[in-house]
């Protein structure tokens, strides 16, 4: 499951431009246990990890088996079309954690991510913890937290029939769900709706987030990208 590895940005453009701007609003920290090695008291450890994350302004938190803090609702009534309760539900997320999974927290600010990592180090949960982000940003975080990097996995981007992929704006948004549950066509539709003023960028971002079953979709970055698509074209 490489669900956070291949997030598209200008750095992976098929016709790259020199010196693309760094991605400074997308940092994921996730925890994972290995069966029979460090999975005793697993549920409590994952809940502690999620609670620590919630103290540092995450834009999303997810449990890979149950979803993120934005989830589809199984029984809405028609008033939802005018007055929908689309607030995140972190308590439900924590309550629903029940066993082996991957718990992830997404941050839009490096400082929040770094403060969270320091808390995780202090908590000494014994779980494997990874940062999925620009490699240099993660290295800076390790240095600030007094950690030595153990292992690295680089994304080399996409190759093959890349001409079949949609444009940059759509790709940047849709690849924030690494499992591909956020469809390109749905993103295109929402870009159009945002341009037509039928939905705000924030609303469009929340629709997308409900489809991401791991809860690693970055709603703040998506909102910015929708806004850019509206004003600069996509």
């Amino acid at each position: 499951m490489t669900n956070t590895l291949h997030r598209f940005s200008e750095h992976y453009a098929f016709e790259p431009k020199p010196n693309p701007a760094p991605v400074e609003d997308d940092f994921i920290v996730f925890a994972m246990a290995t069966r029979g090695v460090n999975d005793d008291g697993l549920v409590d450890k994952y809940r502690t990890f999620a609670r620590l994350a919630l103290a540092h302004n995450p834009v999303n938190v997810g449990d890979a088996t149950k979803g993120g803090i934005y989830r589809p609702q199984p029984a809405l009534n028609p008033l939802a079309h005018w007055k929908r309760d689309d607030r995140p539900d972190p308590e439900r997320l924590i309550e629903d954690i029940e066993g082996h999974t991957v718990v992830a927290a997404v941050f839009s600010r490096w400082e929040d991510m770094e403060a969270f990592v320091e808390d995780v180090v202090q908590a000494d949960l014994g779980l494997s913890v990874n940062i999925s982000a620009p490699i240099d940003a993660a290295a800076r975080c390790c240095k600030a937290s007094g950690l030595t990097r153990h292992s690295l996995e680089y994304s080399l981007g996409f190759q093959g029939r890349v001409e079949r992929l949609p444009d940059r704006a759509v790709l940047e948004i849709s690849t924030m769900c690494g499992h591909g549950m956020v469809s390109h066509t749905f993103v295109k539709k929402m870009v159009d709706w945002v341009k037509e003023g039928r939905r705000t960028p924030a609303q469009a971002a929340r629709y997308m987030a409900r489809f991401c079953v791991c809860g690693v979709f970055n709603t703040v970055r998506a909102e910015k990208l929708f806004e850019q698509a509206r004003t600069r074209g996509a």
Binding site: M1, N3, A33, I135, E153, Q159, M181
Partner: protein
């Protein structure tokens, strides 16, 4: 996935949410249909859409009136108003589609959970990729195109010819009939999945050769390929891999960094001894 003809009101909300574009309105029946050849059984439509459970004839009536009046209702775009999406019972080999496409189900077909393994995400406790080694994760079909197993086999054959060792716990490896030649079982070659991952490990010195082979085969495929390469850092937290990747012309901008915080919290050897024999339920079989 199927769509219940009685329940469907042809609102069209499910059409754009399908990651592979397999849903369409069939004008002959005025309802949505799923192209079964293209559907990868990912359940994104079924699981991702919220539901209202409204009475279908009532919704159809209201829609007819609104259409007659040229009235544009602006509904929430992620709701199936009548809960018309209906998962179907899957049999072999179609069940493989769901195993590789729906991230929330274990690989019932392969007995392995997830599309791949933990890669280096748990390397701090498993020691799977060692210093001087490189782990490859080669993903097919993502984002949003999907891939056929016959395309994946083209890559596994080319990589097998290099003498690489495929990761034994990987689901694609478990579906191979001949790992030395990189052959995948024939009865699934015509199955399409949203994504599948091939995993292997080599020495760092083989990284350029493997990357060139992947690049060469990728050009012949109908889908996209996303590649991840991992390594173990040295005692100072440095790695030799980045320079190798950049020399091959690949961006090494983003990735996963294992912080080394994992540690065994149970006596693994003792746990192994405890579970060496059959479990009570297995012993009674």
């Amino acid at each position: 996935m199927r769509i219940d003809e009685y329940k469907c009101v042809a609102c069209g909300n499910c059409i754009p949410v399908c990651p592979v574009g397999a849903i369409y309105i069939d004008p002959a029946i005025g309802r949505a249909r799923v192209n079964q050849a293209e559907c990868v059984e990912c359940h994104a439509c079924y699981r991702g859409m919220s539901k209202e459970h409204l009475f279908p004839p009532m919704v159809r009536g209201i829609r007819r009136v609104a259409k007659g009046l040229r009235f544009r209702f602006d509904p929430e775009p992620d709701i199936c108003p009548t809960d018309a999406l209906t998962p179907q019972a899957l049999t072999w080999p179609r069940i493989v589609r769901r195993a590789f496409s729906d991230p929330q189900v274990p690989h019932e077909s392969t007995g392995i959970h997830g599309r791949g393994t933990a890669e280096v995400k748990t390397n701090d406790v498993t020691g799977r990729v060692k210093e001087g080694e490189a782990g490859f994760v080669i993903e097919f079909g993502r984002p949003g195109l999907g891939a056929w197993f016959r395309e994946i086999q083209e890559m596994t054959q080319a990589l097998a010819a290099l003498g690489v060792e495929f990761e034994k716990k990987n689901p694609v490896t478990s579906l191979m009939t001949d790992q030395v030649r990189g052959l995948i079982r024939e009865d699934i070659l015509g199955e399409k999945v949203l994504s599948a991952i091939v995993e292997l490990k080599t020495g760092l010195e083989q990284v350029p050769t493997v990357l060139r082979t992947i690049r060469g085969v990728s050009r012949r495929l109908e889908t996209v390929v996303a590649v991840g390469v991992s390594t173990r850092c040295d005692e100072q937290g440095q790695d030799r891999l980045r320079a190798l990747l950049e020399a091959e012309g690949y961006p090494a901008y983003r990735g996963k960094t294992n912080l080394g915080l994992g540690h065994a919290t149970v006596d693994v050897r003792a746990a192994g001894r405890r579970w060496a024999g059959p479990r009570p339920s297995e012993a009674s079989l």
